[in-house]
């Protein structure tokens, strides 16, 4: 299903047109005069001590400007980064903790020279024992990745939530969340079920690799960066280099895909360090192979114990969640919080008790990935709900409906109520499923997550010039989600101006007002509210000016396009403005802001801004001889509150669902021993057209209950949440085989089919 963009409806046709004609400028395309090129030397060891690094031969090569190593970090104010907890050095200091850890960086006149120089660097390693899985890392005699306590602080949380930093060796962080008396709820249950679910490691596989260009002028550093969080990055770079934030300038051109991979600080401080040492602008464009070694989504194991009463009402759930954080913290704390918090799913409970731990291993760091713990939680929760319904002989659809939260009911104590009709979307999903066919199975799932982040804020400027042309300026970046288009639409709606009068300012921390970053599906909602307020402010200024010129009050007049109506008369604004201000004209600069206040009584420390559902349905056919699963239909729906552009919303839901579909079916970053086994584009499989179900559809509901302009809310992550569970539930429906681990490789499916037959064989003996 696609929804057409029509030419007149789209302000951003110009921006879209650039993408269709090759004229868009991505960070990948940025070139500065006298720019050098960086390349990185990476550890072949999963865990090793660096005894020495000899770069003398590399430095002697023609065209090599400098080599940066851990020794250069001494000059930094704080050489570590990470979200909340900071344990990742800008470059390895004395130890490497995964295959791919960066040990040296070369700056040279071109990339070819830089590569050749890397091969001249001699690193003497003392290999250490490695731990490749959480279970290995948690063993009593396991080698420990960090010898010192972790720096930094936990993200904000509130009532019902608690955390511990470094609670045990190789455990970075432990988050617990709960309400009610879970022991009592489980004791009183008619039936109790304990199941364990696993989810594999995947990479973002954004097509534009990580790329940054840094340049110093005196003590000021400026970046052209693919990072999706310019102000977060600015703060990190400033802290690391001991600079005032005003000495750090981040420009964000178009971003060629991120999906969470480009959120938060990564290699940017290193690029700045390379540039400073080289005394020249430096571009560091990672290869896709390197991108794959930079960040992954947390693999996880989730054990859920769930109690149900006689009527099939859910009573309580205990969850023990282990997330593989990889070698460094990155955004692990947040993912632990969100996985633990979301484990109950869209249902009513008497009690929840969950614990989510981040375990360190000698693998690629895990961090944010579209859905942020929500995918892991929804997978386990919705798979188990289905298994419970089937074991109890209940219809999985009716079982869910009996327990579903209603609009306005809180997801957790003191939190904002559910801002949509979960049952209505579920009904629509069921109605959208194909008619039953013999030999095929169908499964459904309802994923849910909070969206919009915790206590987030955004600010905006809406500038309207003498001709009624609008420039919207925020820190929301264009990462393909269509946010700039949405921002312009919000502004022009308030001003009553045609949509094609607005342009979206390029993002530059020196000019644009800040926000928390373009992630957690918050841009259109939170920064959108700031834009709406800024547009109102600009409108008031226009009306005040016009009133002063017409000798009336602002209440007497209204704006109609770029004309002012005063009683029966229409006055064109442009001549009025030029008459007063002269030839250059004038800008009415509206300012707006939105801040979700912190609220310690809520579990997250602030009310969740919105709720994001993912109604998912799949129809499958299973080859019982090979274990191959063919997904014939995949239907996915979410709620946008209000869809500013239906085609864009559908595109977001479909795109996320395609990623979740791949993670369910085949996509996985695998290790063989301590080496990544498929960290190249050829070996790592992402979905192509031929992989997608023939019948793949998305729908978007409009509850109008969101807090954003006109009731809208974010939708970017929604499509990820329920897909894996829906497919596994369909496999069970078709064959009775129970899948509890993604991806559902033919071999795993065949093993599940075999296991299904096992009790029968035993019984017949």
């Amino acid at each position: 299903m696609t929804h057409s963009h029509t030419q007149e409806s789209d302000t951003y046709f110009r921006a879209f047109r650039k993408k269709a004609t090759g004229q868009s400028v991505y960070t990948f395309d940025v070139v500065l005069p006298f720019m050098l090129h960086g390349k990185l030397l990476r550890s072949p060891h999963a865990h090793a001590r660096i005894k020495s690094i000899d770069a003398s031969k590399a430095l002697a090569m023609d065209g090599v400007s400098c080599v940066v190593t851990g020794a250069d970090l001494a000059e930094l104010a704080d050489p570590y980064y990470g979200v909340g907890l900071r344990d990742q050095p800008v470059i390895a200091i004395d130890r490497v903790r995964y295959v791919g850890d960066v040990v040296a960086a070369v700056c040279a006149v071109d990339e070819n020279t830089a590569y050749r120089a890397l091969q001249q660097i001699v690193v003497d390693y003392e290999p250490l024992l490695s731990v490749m899985t959480p279970s290995a890392a948690l063993m009593d005699d396991a080698p420990v990745l960090f010898d010192t306590p972790t720096r930094g602080v936990s993200p904000v949380i509130g009532a019902g939530s608690a955390y511990k930093i470094d609670p045990a060796p190789n455990v970075l962080y432990e988050y617990t969340f709960g309400y009610g008396d879970v022991d009592r709820a489980l004791d009183s249950a008619h039936a109790l079920f304990t199941d364990t679910f696993e989810i594999g490691r995947i990479n973002h596989f954004h097509l534009e690799p990580y790329v940054n260009v840094a340049r110093w002028t005196g003590s000021q550093v400026e970046f052209w960066s693919c990072n999706q969080d310019p102000f977060v990055l600015r703060a990190d770079v400033a802290r690391i280099f001991g600079l005032p934030v005003t000495d750090v300038r981040i420009r964000t051109p178009l971003i060629g895909g991120g999906f969470g991979g480009k959120s938060y600080c990564k290699m940017e401080p290193l690029v700045a360090l390379m540039s400073r040492k080289a005394g020249a602008p430096v571009r560091l464009a990672l290869s896709m192979d390197e991108s794959m070694l930079t960040l992954v989504k947390h693999p996880a194991s989730l054990t859920l114990t769930t109690g149900v009463d006689k009527q099939g009402l859910l009573l309580g759930r205990r969850a023990d969640i282990t997330l593989d954080g990889g070698a460094y913290s990155d955004a692990s704390t947040l993912v632990a919080i969100k996985t633990g918090f979301r484990i109950g799913g869209p249902y009513r409970w008497q009690a929840i008790d969950s614990r989510a731990r981040i375990v360190r291993t000698n693998t690629i760091p895990s961090g944010s990935f579209r859905g942020f713990g929500g995918t892991q939680a929804s997978w386990a929760s919705e798979r188990q709900i289905d298994m419970i319904a089937r074991r109890l002989g209940h219809d999985p659809v009716a079982f869910r409906k009996r327990n579903l939260l209603k609009a306005g009911e809180p997801f957790a104590p003191n939190d904002r109520g559910i801002d949509l009709d979960l049952a209505a979307g579920f009904d629509r999903l069921i109605a959208s499923m194909p008619a039953r066919t013999k030999g095929r199975g169908q499964g459904v799932a309802i994923g849910i997550k909070d969206a919009g982040g915790t206590g987030n804020h955004g600010q905006a400027l809406v500038r309207v010039n003498q001709s009624g042309q609008v420039c919207v300026s925020t820190a929301t970046v264009d990462i393909g989600q269509g946010a700039p288009s949405a921002m312009c639409r919000i502004a022009t709606e308030v001003l009553g101006l045609p949509r094609n009068t607005a342009v979206y300012a390029s993002v530059d921390t020196e000019h644009n007002p800040p926000d928390n970053g373009t992630h957690v599906s918050c841009a259109t909602m939170i920064t959108g509210l700031a834009v709406e307020a800024a547009a109102r402010d600009a409108l008031q200024q226009v009306l005040a000016f016009a009133a002063s010129q017409l000798g009336c009050t602002a209440d007497d007049i209204t704006l109609e396009g770029w004309l002012v109506r005063h009683g029966g008369a229409l006055h064109p604004l442009e001549p009025m403005i030029r008459k007063y201000f002269g030839g250059i004209g004038w800008e009415f600069i509206g300012r707006g802001a939105f801040k979700e206040p912190y609220a310690p009584a809520t579990p997250m420390g602030a009310e969740n801004v919105s709720w994001m559902p993912c109604w998912s349905g799949a129809e499958v056919e299973v080859d019982e001889e090979t274990g191959q699963v063919r997904v014939l239909s995949l239907v996915v729906g979410s709620d946008a509150g209000r869809a500013l552009d239906m085609g864009t919303c559908i595109g977001q839901v479909e795109g996320a669902a395609a990623q979740a579909f791949a993670q369910a079916m085949f996509e996985e970053m695998r290790y063989r021993g301590d080496q990544p086994d498929n960290a190249t584009p050829l070996a790592y499989r992402v979905p192509r057209v031929a992989d997608m179900p023939q019948d793949f559809r998305a729908f978007v509901m409009e509850s109008r209950l969101g807090v954003g302009p006109g009731g809208l809310k974010g939708i970017g992550e929604a499509g990820m949440l329920g897909i894996a569970a829906a497919i596994a539930n369909a496999i069970e429906d078709a064959t009775g085989a129970s899948l509890t681990k993604t991806p559902f490789t033919p071999e795993r499916v065949l093993a599940a089919l075999d296991a299904r037959q096992a009790p029968d064989i035993a019984a017949s003996k």
Binding site: M1, T2, H3, S4, H5, T6, F13, F16, R17, K19, A20, T21, G22, Q23, S24, V25, Y26, F28, D29, H204, F205, H206, L207, E208, P209, L254, I255, G256, G257, G258, F259, S287, M288, I479, G480, Q481, G482, G647, T648, G651, Q652, E654, G655, A657, A658, Q659, T680, P681, L682, V686, P687, R688, V689, A690, D691, M692, F696, A698
Partner: protein, 160 residues
């Protein structure tokens, strides 16, 4: 080793002296300023760098310049002659067939080559062709819709 290579890029002739080891993508991007050619996987897998050599889709990241000596090359910049978008570009816009846009140049050129061969491809052919290139954003529905729209447009044009 340096070589002389003659190519016609988007209708304009270039006599270039290049290194034997230089790839088409780098010459297009760094010598001719045609940055619409994006490089992503650098392994002939994703198709972001797809350009047309004598009408055939080719991975520019994995093609040595000497391989295209005396060839006609079309990049995305060469499609909208005189600012008028092609049917394929128009269809991509109409159907919102891209999000981040990094795969878009390659996709548009791939579809252009397909429809030049077969203005009315059946679903199997479309699937076979489009499966050559990766889009990580859209889930492909909108791209398939754009191909159908462009192909219908070509049919209408042919009938008129």
């Amino acid at each position: 080793m340096r070589l002389n290579v003659n190519v016609v890029v988007n209708g304009r002739s270039h006599a270039l002296e290049v290194g034997a080891h230089e790839t088409l993508s780098d010459v297009l991007r760094e010598r001719l300023g045609l940055t619409g050619c994006k490089v992503a996987c650098d392994q002939s897998v994703c198709g972001a760098c797809t350009i047309l050599v004598d009408g055939d889709p080719v991975s520019a990241c994995s093609t040595f310049m000497f391989k295209v000596d005396d060839s006609k090359i079309t990049t995305v910049e060469g499609l909208a002659a005189g600012g008028v978008l092609t049917r394929v570009q128009e269809a991509f816009l109409q159907d919102g067939a891209f999000q981040c846009g990094f795969c878009t140049s390659g996709m548009i050129l791939l579809v252009t080559a397909l429809l030049a061969r077969d203005p009315n491809p059946d679903d199997a052919t479309v699937q076979q062709w489009l499966s050559s290139n990766i889009c990580r954003c859209t889930g492909y529905n909108s791209i398939l819709a754009a191909v159908r729209r462009a192909s219908a447009g070509l049919r209408t044009e042919a009938a008129a």
